[in-house]
């Protein structure tokens, strides 16, 4: 350790700094695309899981169990290396013309996170007392309208902290995309390390970025919990 010559300037300016910055950009892009897709998909699965029809419920359960019990890395590899055999040719052509690494990673992250988000949404909805639904139905709302105007608005307030936590998990999981060549933050940190041999500085920079993201988001969730969920606590 004592023989190591620290040189912090490489990560604050110059081309290595640019690499790291572009890595942060890609990480954020992946995270934002992923969380939007995962939320939509998770919402659909959550609704399916609470359906009155058993085949739909079973389908949702199978989806949830399968994508929660397989590693994210395998899912990324499947979408990147192995999806061409089961996707139609037109989709394969379109995917190959765009940034396929990013698309495969985004799809894998979206599906993986949607399974966890579906569970969070479901517990949020189930935590609303069923008297709310009964009162809504007896006031004349249909099932869907009760969900839309009475249940879901209340459920959303409760579900925000778990959703934000899933966004954080997604941002951290995006580091796995480096295995298929997506040039996100961890990938760029390794690049800087292999080009400049200043591994300590490079990884410290990446660590700081992830920590800043984690701490600020966790702090926001704490503020949200205090102000919105428990505003009347003494």
């Amino acid at each position: 350790m004592l023989k190591y010559h620290f040189d912090w300037s490489i990560i604050t300016s110059g081309k290595y700094f640019d690499w790291l910055v572009s890595g942060v950009k890609i990480t954020l892009e992946l995270s934002v695309v992923g969380i939007i897709g995962a939320f939509i998909l998770g919402l659909i699965i959550a609704v399916l899981k609470m359906s009155h029809y058993r085949p739909l419920r079973w389908l949702a359960s199978a989806y949830l169990e399968f994508f929660r019990n397989t590693p994210l890395l395998i899912q990324i590899f499947f979408w990147y290396f192995g999806s061409y055999k089961i996707l139609p040719t037109a989709v394969n052509d379109w995917l190959n013309n765009t940034n396929f690494e990013f698309a495969a990673a985004a799809i894998a992250l979206t599906i993986y996170t949607s399974a966890f988000i579906a569970e969070d949404i479901r517990s949020g909805i189930l935590s609303i007392p069923k008297e709310q639904m009964e009162a809504a139905r007896s006031a004349g709302f249909s099932y869907l309208r009760s969900m839309q105007y009475i249940i879901l608005p209340q459920a959303v307030r409760i579900t925000v902290p778990p959703l934000v936590n899933q966004f954080l998990n997604l941002a951290k999981n995006s580091s796995l995309a480096m295995t298929i060549g997506v040039m996100e933050l961890t990938y760029q940190a390794r690049q800087v390390e292999s080009y400049s041999f200043k591994g300590f500085e490079a990884f410290t920079a990446a660590t700081v970025v992830y920590l800043v993201l984690s701490v600020s988001i966790t702090a926001l969730v704490d503020v949200y919990n205090k102000k919105v969920l428990n505003p009347h606590r003494a």
């Binding site: 399968f66 499947f78 290396f81 055999k85 995006s174 580091s175 295995t179």
Partner: protein
């Protein structure tokens, strides 16, 4: 669909998937995955117990650094933690460390931070009256923790521990990135060798992980039900 899936590549290489090159080399494949998961789980159980107890210490001078450390490790991706171990362990120990041990250390550190939260929740879930009663019968603080609180707390923690073990099994797949020949790496090796069966290989590997993790997840749900029945006094 370009053609039917052909699973014969799985059958041909089944032994390699399961145990790697053993006995002609080190253990690999699924055997190595389970070895990494079990060793990391046992180590991080103790690590999490220690960290959890320390984070609840009466002394702020212990509490604050420990909580800072735990939140730092939890705020990082597991991949970063493994990379840090990959760099720091040889530098600190002054000698080369086999990759599998690096991975075990990284997994243990990461999982201990999460286990510490489980331990905290388990301990804080025990009513304070238990500690008060223990102190009033003459037990010291640490004896109350060791003989009264922890045994009761353990019961609450067990389902969460099993869930964490399931996450560990999935996280061992990251060992591939530093060159450890566990199940995922074996899959990519066979994929690189046979070139035209990635779909079958990764579906098979996903299936293996699924069977393993789903078994333990179901066990954890069963445990949760059984343990909560006992509590209904």
């Amino acid at each position: 669909m370009d053609g039917m899936l052909d699973f014969h590549v799985i059958v041909d290489n089944f032994t390699y998937f399961m145990i790697g090159r053993y006995p002609n080399g080190p253990l690999g494949g699924l055997g190595l995955t389970m070895y990494l998961a079990v060793v990391s789980c046992i180590l991080s159980f103790f690590g999490g117990l220690i960290l959890g107890l320390l984070s609840l210490s009466r002394f702020a001078v212990i509490r604050y650094p420990v909580n800072l450390f735990i939140n730092t490790v939890r705020g990082l991706p597991l991949l970063m933690v493994i990379f840090w171990m990959y760099f720091l362990l040889p530098a600190l120990l002054g000698k080369t460390v086999p990759e599998s041990q690096t991975v075990i250390m990284g997994l243990t550190l990461f999982t201990s931070a999460y286990m510490s939260q489980i331990v905290r929740a388990g301990i804080e879930g025990i009513p304070k009256g238990q500690v008060e009663a223990a102190i009033s019968t003459g037990l010291k603080g640490w004896q109350a923790m060791l003989y009264i609180v922890l045994p009761q707390g353990m019961r609450n923690m067990i389902p969460s521990f099993v869930n964490q073990f399931v996450s560990l099994i999935k996280d061992t797949s990251l060992a591939f990135i530093v060159g450890v020949s566990e199940l995922t790496h074996v899959g990519t090796q066979i994929n690189n060798r046979t070139m035209s069966y990635p779909t079958e290989i990764f579906i098979f590997i996903a299936g293996v992980y699924f069977v393993l993790c789903f078994t333990f997840t179901s066990w954890s749900r069963w445990l949760e039900q059984r343990l909560s029945w006992r509590k209904a006094i």
